[in-house]
């Protein structure tokens, strides 16, 4: 039952701080005695865990995708192979490597999309078998004492590029369910910097659930490491499990019947997540030089709460074209609801011959700023022989599903039913006659007047 789940979550949340410290992991004595030998140690008591993990999105960075247009239903898609303008590279073309030396300083560094993978790069995205199982970094998600400075790329004795892990017994003695920082070590640095990609902070000040001491996995409860997700138009790969606000709350959670009536056509997020943030535009055709003389894609960003979302109908199927990735849906389509989105626009090279977006290997431009060399390297990796690169823009709609504001900051009647309100009724498909009605105080006047009388 929903109420039950809500209450359990809340109780678990409130007591969490105490519990995590107090309730020791039951494998602790064993690990103390035998040390930590990687997943094999965990397998002693949690058999099959590593193998199951290899089948998940967090290991494969891909899955079959059936809600996005213009894809092959037999193929798998994800950060492994996607080409879009938030990250113009992917695990394949922008595979972790040492970049050419900077012509100015002679220094090199490592870069690659697959640094956000809980393997060691020698066992990379989507690898299988006993060696892959042994390479999983269980502790990056499960230890509260993880030394993150160990998780950096280096060259091993054979000159192969690997990613380090903290496999110390100290870290393995501090096991629990993942804390927000374990998730955020990857999720808040995606897209080229802190809070750039999705632009959501998970702090007491920014989210009512965080304020109640809830953590990511209170909502993203996982079984067999299949972490549930929703329908952000830009999150394609999934493990077949979904979450939504109404897993815990009901579809009609308000005392007020007028507000409850709106949930038929308006998603919870629309009223409850009034702000978003992060990067809103990026240029992959011109990289800017940083103080260390390396180059980065030029990025325009805002704070996590500085962007007003754009609202659009969404039926949980996704438009996917070279110039646009975003929600499909209309007012007429009864499966559609109005959702909030963060709009991001990215400039990159498109192939004039077929109109498709080209991808980029970041190593060349990072060293020299030469972005066309990055495109050439990616084309070479993918075996694309004929292409004519022309710069162009792509618009992406990111779902806005976190940073739930305190209830008194939720959008209410007069935020929407006003001529300069939060929603653009015309773009949402309402007629002039309807708009006249929808933007009139008539819709809420008596109700709000009464509320104000009560409050004062």
């Amino acid at each position: 039952m929903k109420i039950l789940r809500l209450i359990t979550t809340l109780i678990a949340g409130l007591s969490l701080v105490a519990l995590v410290e107090a309730k020791d992991h039951q494998g602790k004595d064993y690990i103390q005695e035998n040390g930590y030998q990687g997943p094999a140690t965990c397998e002693v008591c949690h058999p099959g865990t590593a193998q199951a993990f290899l089948g998940t999105v967090h290991w494969k960075h891909a899955s079959k995708v059936n809600h996005v247009e213009n894809l092959d239903p037999k193929q798998e898609y994800g950060m492994k192979n996607r080409v879009y303008t938030m990250c113009n590279g992917n695990d394949i073309v922008n595979n972790l490597k040492e970049i050419p030396p900077s012509p100015t300083t002679g220094k090199t560094k490592f870069t690659g999309c697959n640094t956000c993978h809980p393997g060691n790069h020698l066992q990379d995205v989507g690898s299988t078998g006993p060696e892959a199982e042994a390479a999983i970094d269980c502790l990056v998600c499960h230890s509260t004492a993880y030394d993150f400075s160990q998780r950096k790329p280096y060259k091993d004795a054979q000159g192969r590029v690997a990613i380090g892990q903290d496999r110390s017994t100290k870290a393995a003695l501090a096991i629990g369910k993942p804390a927000p920082k374990n998730c955020m070590v990857c999720h808040d640095s995606a897209g080229g910097g802190a809070l750039v990609k999705r632009g959501f902070a998970f702090t007491a000040a920014s989210d009512v659930h965080a304020a109640k001491s809830m953590v990511c996995v209170d909502c993203h409860k996982a079984k067999d490491h299949r972490i549930p997700t929703g329908y952000d138009p830009n999150n394609w790969a999934h493990d077949g499990v979904r979450i939504s606000c109404s897993d815990c709350h009901s579809e009609k959670p308000h005392k007020d019947a007028d507000t409850n009536r709106h949930t038929a056509r308006i998603a919870c997020q629309t009223c409850h997540i009034p702000r978003t943030g992060g990067a809103f535009a990026k240029d992959f055709t011109h990289w800017e030089q940083l103080s260390d003389k390396f180059y980065e894609p030029t990025t325009l960003r805002k704070e996590t709460n500085e962007t007003t979302p754009v609202y659009a109908w969404y039926n949980k199927t996704v438009a996917n074209r070279p110039d646009f990735i975003g929600p499909k849906g209309t007012r007429k389509d009864v499966r559609s609801k109005i959702y909030p989105f963060k709009i991001f626009q990215g400039k990159a090279y498109f192939n004039k011959l077929d109109g498709k977006l080209l991808s980029m290997d970041f190593a060349p431009p990072m060293a020299t700023g030469n972005t066309l060399a990055g495109v050439a390297s990616a084309a070479n990796i993918l075996g694309i022989k004929n292409y004519v690169p022309v710069p162009g823009w792509q618009t992406i709609y990111f779902g806005s599903n976190h940073q739930v504001a305190p209830k008194d900051k939720a959008l209410t009647c007069y935020n929407c039913h006003a001529p300069n309100g939060s929603l653009n009724f015309q773009e949402l498909g309402y007629t002039s006659k309807e708009i006249k009605k929808l933007t009139s105080p008539e819709t809420y006047f008596n109700k709000i007047a009464e509320k104000m009388r009560e409050e004062w």
Binding site: T111, G112, C113, T115, C116, A145, Y146, D147, F148, S149, Q150, K181, V185, C186, S189, A190, G191, G192, G193, A194, L195, V196, T203, L290, S291, D292, E296
Partner: protein
């Protein structure tokens, strides 16, 4: 003909007046991109010395928000990292402290 003040200007004036009223109490906020040279962790705060990438000047700031402190403790932020930094130049307390780079 007399016009009513457009609300945007009225708001701007109002905001400006607020800022003026408040400003004597507030010190200037300094903004820079800087590289971490040294991190000294204490019980409830950290003192971080950085080098401004534009001027090469050294600054020392106090970090006392829990989220950043935690990142310093478990070494998600390290010496050598480049930081987008804002701090209050009267107190030396960092109000914004984030790594510039990401994957």
């Amino acid at each position: 003909m007399r016009k009513v003040l457009p609300s945007s200007i009225a708001l701007a004036l109002f905001t400006a007046s607020l800022v003026t009223i408040c400003s004597p109490a507030q010190a200037a906020e300094v903004k820079m991109i800087a590289t971490i040279e040294r991190i000294e962790l204490k019980e409830k705060s950290a003192t971080v010395t950085l080098k401004d990438t534009k001027s090469d000047k050294h600054v020392s700031v106090t970090v006392n928000d829990d989220l950043t402190l935690d990142k310093l403790r478990d070494k998600r932020i390290l010496e050598g990292d480049e930081i987008r930094l804002k701090y209050d130049d009267a107190t030396g307390v960092a109000t914004y402290f984030r790594k510039t780079a990401g994957c």
